[in-house]
Subunit: 344 residues, 2 copies
Amino acid sequence: MTKKKTTIKDIANVLNISAAAVSKALHDDSRISEKTKKAVKQVAKNLNYQPNHLASALRSGKSNLVGVIVPRTNSNFFSSVLQNIEEVLNKEGYNIIITQSNESYKKECDNIDTLLYTQVDGIIASMANETVELDYYEKVKSKGIPLILFDRGENDLNVDYIGINDYESSHLVVNHLVDNGCKRIAHIGGYKRTRIFNNRIRGYIDALKKHNLPLDTELLTESGLTIEDGREKMYQLLNLKKRPDAVYVAGDYAALGALQVLNEENIKIPDEIALVGFGNEPFTDMVTPRITSVNQHSEEIGKQAALTFLKYNKEKVVKQSLNKIILSAELIIRDSSNKKALLT
Amino acid sequence: MTKKKTTIKDIANVLNISAAAVSKALHDDSRISEKTKKAVKQVAKNLNYQPNHLASALRSGKSNLVGVIVPRTNSNFFSSVLQNIEEVLNKEGYNIIITQSNESYKKECDNIDTLLYTQVDGIIASMANETVELDYYEKVKSKGIPLILFDRGENDLNVDYIGINDYESSHLVVNHLVDNGCKRIAHIGGYKRTRIFNNRIRGYIDALKKHNLPLDTELLTESGLTIEDGREKMYQLLNLKKRPDAVYVAGDYAALGALQVLNEENIKIPDEIALVGFGNEPFTDMVTPRITSVNQHSEEIGKQAALTFLKYNKEKVVKQSLNKIILSAELIIRDSSNKKALLT
DNA sequence: TTAATTTGCTTAATCGTTTAAGCAAAAAAT
DNA sequence: ATTTTTTGCTTAAACGATTAAGCAAATTAA
């Protein structure tokens, strides 16, 4: 069973024409007769011919492959972005290669190397939490390959970016909480070095100011936003002399950890403490009480990222500049913060 | 900024040696002097040389790429399998390309074409629910590329398979429920045409028999196991004249749907109805009450799948046969079924 | 009828790397 | 001192496709 793969030459031999003619026939070149085209395609089918991507990509300099780097696939947000990127790019004849960084800078660099090595035509990425050095991304740029960032981006790279308005989102959340009578609003934030989390923190601070609420530094913390982080920070907040009456968490997983602690401590949600998450992960709608969260429009982000790449796909010399597409987020109000609903 | 990529030839020119010598130096060929090797590597670094994978793969016939097909990445099970496959393969110099079928047969076929086209050295896959025809998988086999299936497999393909003992798992579940005093145990199963779901159903039936419990066909249903399916089937069960006192659901998402209905209808879990899911998705430990579920050992499945591929990676002619690695599953007992804990 | 154009192919070079074969110089063995 | 072996390279042919250039035959134009 030493199945030799069929090549263009095999087809040429069968029909007694040149390999070049076969190649052209398969690409519907106008200089090949309809008769020959039909014959070639028939033989190709008979011999179960599958073009060798490596050869054509090597020759033409285009792999029709786009690399995507995400911190993890195991999240509704990223998985949904991936699906939408794929959908848009498939239609244009591109295929995507998905790699995960697991939030590790080292892994992210490896991923970039892998993708460059695979000769992808472009890279769409969301940076790992850890990433602060941009040398590897500069490498991508210096190869002349379009680089598109989403969600976790970086202005300094001067490339296209698609994301939501994190600063504005925090305002949405705080407005909503104030609207529900909350006066001591805590924020369990992500690490400030990551731009999106920094923006959420800035938005939180400015929104408090807007409502003439004092900023209590005890109520503002940074973490990796895992479930465990959420639990830990929630315990810290409960141990304060003056507990908050609302907690706005910059990530749903951490919000879940906070929820667990509140439930375990028999604290009434939202009456005693209201809770808001971020990301609108499906489980926010599954737990008790359901968690209010911010929808990040993953579908649109995926689509826009893919379309942005396609903008470059024909250009020979890629000349990118900081070009941001900022979508406005949407607050999904659920039981964990909706005191008003309880009043009626 | 028309950055021409550095090739092996550029390095050769700088040092006034042949391209072949450079290639060999980079691969630490024993017939190249240490002095030359050092010089080559230095120049390679200076010129920021990145090997062209397309060229080397084309020439050597090995791409060092392994394709993985999963129904979706947005599930803890698959995401964890992916991570472990990647970890094992990366160590051996392989990279993985992840594709999603979204449970669609059509998409799965496209994925296979993409992977073959990319000239992967092997394919590791878990089949879509929809998949019944095996022609596309036969195509992979006929190309002489190793094919490894996990979780959702198919005996008829005669290839390696890694999974858990689904039949035995159902016994674990039923034993546990009987042990907790349940006598009318329902099963919300997956579609029988998918082997794993069929095995869970067979295990359920045989386990009832073992415990001398009658099999009531009203209590046994098939579905796609989405959250919505779980809700629907749970309503059906609640509308029966004789309600079950336990429900064993073949998937965690459907179990969650069932849980929502039970909670909404104010039915006491596990007292009135006990609930058991399958898959040990993280949310089973997040909801109220926490759902008893079956741990499928995703880490081990991923590792074994990768190792199985590596077994073939040196062989010229791949000769596969039905070779199953069956791991035994583990029942994670939580509140939703643990009546005994309540008694003490 | 002859020139110009179009059609339908072929030839050969090329993409960047690997690798079999070969060959001179150096080192080791006799 | 001569033969054998080893070392360190070079040359050239591949891998399978694409593509620029070219050329004869068929068609159209003048």
